[in-house]
């Protein structure tokens, strides 16, 4: 994989920040966008901006073809059987909330269980807390092992015949843990439960085959995989989506509207009320083309190499704590002794290095780790070992700086 050529596709990387060449290590928050995506959005607005699925004019038809073409690209990207199973949403949060509002509220009742894990992002916790409150179902957690992974034995212990829904992240945005989705899906199905996968940190980095994983729902965001913000995907098995009620009602999603009652369009449009995120979907299609051209397996291999290199180099720093398992996705969450992560991030920023600091929208996990905040460096296809060297150097300087002022 030619990382230098890839980097040239990301104009934003070619700049100085605070007098230093920019190093972007915050792709888990949002990825940078390749030129092809920026141009796809630009071309739509300059050349054929029109609403979709209505009207007969030429540009409207072109916009509809591009929008629905993007849906088919998504279908192929995650190996779904049908475009009926690909719903465009605003992002992972909306995707999960759609399942929580539509599926969970209709199918759960008092005495049922929802099973999640303590490593979830807030967006895969709170929708289930609210669904549990609304239905009287009980929310249960699969405990984490000491290294921040799940054991299938614990999954089996937690999921029971009362469990109707299991929601789990594909990849932890803090620990980097990659969960065994296929095995967890098996266990859920043995008990007649459905599985909802938060793929926000999965789909951008790992080849996802929803048919092979046998997950019932898989949610992810475009902006973490090179596409614009504001576009996301909810994959759902057709037989489940068919029995689900829409969450938003209005234009676009209707079949017949009478004075006192209405009927819905078929899948996937019944879940896409209102004018959809047309430019975003087209941008997502372009991002998928970009990733496919490089190859998801190549991207994963490159990231794995970066993760290993980062772990090795960062461990050489005295007084660093690294959270999460050895085998991990391409992110490293850490703290320096006696330096608060915000202060670390501020010093790194002065060196032109962007990292995340805070609770990473995972407060329960922060409490499990017994910290209030951490710093995180996350990598994507455009990052290099030199970026990691700059980070390590920046961390040494951070220690030195705070060592001097004390």
């Amino acid at each position: 994989m030619d990382v230098k050529a890839i980097r040239e596709q990301f104009p934003i990387l070619n700049q100085d920040v605070n007098g230093h060449p920019f190093v972007y290590l915050d792709s888990s928050a949002t990825s940078q966008k390749p030129i092809s995506v920026i141009e796809a959005v630009d071309n739509y607005y300059r050349g054929y901006n029109s609403n979709v699925h209505r009207g007969v004019h030429t540009l409207g038809t072109k916009a509809t073809e591009a929008y629905e073409g993007a849906r088919d690209k998504v279908r192929r990207f995650i190996d779904a059987e049908s475009t009926a199973e690909i719903i465009f949403t605003r992002g992972t949060t909306t995707s999960i909330n759609t399942v929580a509002y539509s599926y969970a509220r209709a199918n759960l009742q008092a005495g049922d269980e929802i099973v999640i894990t303590p490593m979830e992002h807030h967006s895969n916790i709170i929708p289930w807390q609210q669904a549990a409150k609304a239905t009287g179902a009980t929310l249960k957690y699969i405990p984490l092992q000491e290294d921040g992974t799940l054991s299938l034995e614990d999954v089996r212990q937690t999921v029971t015949d009362r469990t109707k829904l299991v929601a789990v992240t594909h990849v932890s945005n803090v620990l980097g843990t990659v969960n065994p989705i296929k095995d967890i899906a098996n266990i859920a199905h043995e008990h007649g439960a459905v599985i909802v996968v938060d793929g926000a940190q999965g789909a951008p980095h790992i080849k996802v085959d929803v048919t092979d994983l046998d997950c019932d729902f898989y949610a992810f965001s475009g902006h973490k995989m090179g596409a614009p913000t504001g576009i996301g995907v909810l994959y759902g098995k057709k037989k489940l989506l068919e029995q689900m009620e829409p969450v938003e009602f209005g234009g676009e999603m209707i079949d017949f509207v009478n004075l006192y009652d209405s009927t819905w369009k078929e899948l996937p449009w019944k879940f896409e009320g209102g004018t959809p995120i047309i430019a975003g979907a087209i941008g997502l299609g372009a991002a998928i083309d970009f990733l496919n051209e490089i190859g998801m397996d190549q991207i994963t291999a490159h990231e794995q190499q970066l993760a290993k290199y980062a772990m090795k180099q960062m461990r050489t720093i005295d007084g660093i704590s690294i959270f999460g398992p050895e085998e991990r996705a391409a992110l490293v969450t850490f703290n320096l002794d006696d330096v608060h992560p915000h202060d670390t991030a501020t010093v790194l920023d002065a060196e032109g290095i962007a990292v995340r600091a805070g609770h990473h929208c995972a407060q329960p996990l922060m409490r499990w780790l017994d910290v209030t905040a951490t710093a995180r460096a996350s990598f994507y296809l455009y990052n290099t070992e030199e970026d990691i060297d700059r980070l390590v150097d920046g961390l040494q300087k951070t220690k030195e700086y705070f060592g001097n002022v004390f």
């Binding site: 605070n18 608060h340 992560p341 915000h342 202060d343 501020t346 010093v347 002065a350 600091a357 805070g358 609770h359 407060q363 922060m366 209030t372 905040a373 300087k397 030195e400 700086y401 002022v405 004390f406």
Partner: protein, 144 residues
């Protein structure tokens, strides 16, 4: 290594308050207790005020956060102790002005060590760290 820009943020006096916080702990008796956190970053503070006859007799804080938020809490408690409530609130307004990089109308009130936090205004991402304890104080006064 040149961190001139950083030195405007991390002044010696700030690091001193961070390392040796004043008024850290808790109060007993007839006191006001305010809990406040910064949901975007996880910083949190518990501020306790003992107010008698409109005067802040004592102030203590506990919490967790970055150097700026903890140093600011230390300086804030130091500054408002012994002050009239109105003056403490005035200082809070002055502090907000300082964080926005605006001209501060001192009205005969000496901000003392707090002046050292002026540099925070040049780091927009860190302003909320510095204002956390002041917001807690305002909340305590308004609700108390």
């Amino acid at each position: 290594m040149s961190f001139n820009n950083l030195d405007t943020l991390y002044r010696q006096v700030i690091m001193d308050h961070y390392k040796n916080p004043r008024n850290k702990g808790s109060l007993e008796g007839d006191i006001l207790t305010v809990d406040m956190n910064n949901p975007t970053c996880g910083d949190r503070i518990q501020l306790q005020l003992q107010v008698e006859d409109g005067i802040v007799k004592d102030a203590k804080f506990q919490g967790e956060g970055c150097s700026i938020s903890m140093a600011s809490a230390s300086m804030m408690t130091q500054a408002i102790k012994g002050k009239k409530i109105e003056d403490a609130m005035k200082m809070s307004t002055m502090f907000s002005q300082m964080m926005l990089g605006e001209e501060v109308d001192e009205e005969g009130i000496d901000l003392g060590d707090i002046q050292a936090l002026q540099g925070v205004s040049k780091f927009p991402a860190r302003i909320k760290c510095a204002t956390l304890s002041w917001k807690a104080m305002e909340k305590g006064v308004n609700e108390g």
